[in-house]
Subunit: 133 residues, 2 copies
């Protein structure tokens, strides 16, 4: 069980965009070079972030991506959910009556993790780092 590389790319891109907030959008090309990944692949990931309302895109010359106005509120969990989906990481495959005690335990554990990811905002991390992303 592992988070996908797409999640890794998404998180790094978002953090990088906080460091380059000015009104001038940044193209996929530069972002992809920074991450060491192909531009076409990264663009797919960024499109997901656009649809989720976390960043906005501008087509055409001098276009690119930049954070949206409400970006201060974006949490790690928001980004991860956008890429990985919101499905819980455990589904009991049995159908024993009503509720599975095992599933409840694992889901509670998952919630602990999500609580932490929900409380960690991109803005807080950006302050801590401020140096190389």
């Amino acid at each position: 069980m592992k988070y996908s590389k797409a999640t890794d790319y998404a998180l790094h891109t978002m953090l990088f965009l906080t460091a380059a907030t000015p009104n001038q959008p940044i193209g996929v090309q530069k972002l992809a070079e920074r991450l060491g990944v192909s531009a076409t692949y990264l663009s797919k990931i960024l499109t997901k972030l656009v649809k989720a309302g976390m960043i906005e895109s501008a087509s055409g010359a001098r276009g690119g991506y930049r954070l949206k106005r409400n970006w201060e509120n974006i949490s790690f969990l928001d980004i991860i959910h956008t890429i990985e989906g919101k499905a819980s990481l455990f589904d009991c495959s049995l159908d024993h009556g009503s509720e599975c005690a095992i599933q409840q335990v694992v889901l509670l554990a998952e919630e602990k993790m999500e609580d932490h990811l929900r409380n960690q905002t991109l803005a807080e991390l950006a302050k801590k780092v401020e140096v190389d992303v």
Copy 2:
């Protein structure tokens, strides 16, 4: 990102074995029927649990699987680690200097989840359930 079905089967099998603790081992066949999975597949999973020292096996007629003596201490995390491996669920694919701030956040979150899974023992859950597994 999801736990594998193998983990699901392992957890359910372990819980089921707590309910059937007597000295008579239980064969894969019965366990597999209970879970609705093929016996050959389940046996691979159980072999992992044997090698991890959580259960013990007996070959030959009237053989099967049963919990080991120390089973009271087994936690959810032990079982999950046995099947899923112990690799952390996030690896930063960049090489930016020393440590990745993003990775630290995700790993801290993961530890919260693991804490919960480590504190939940099989024995505790077995007491709560006592009914159908």
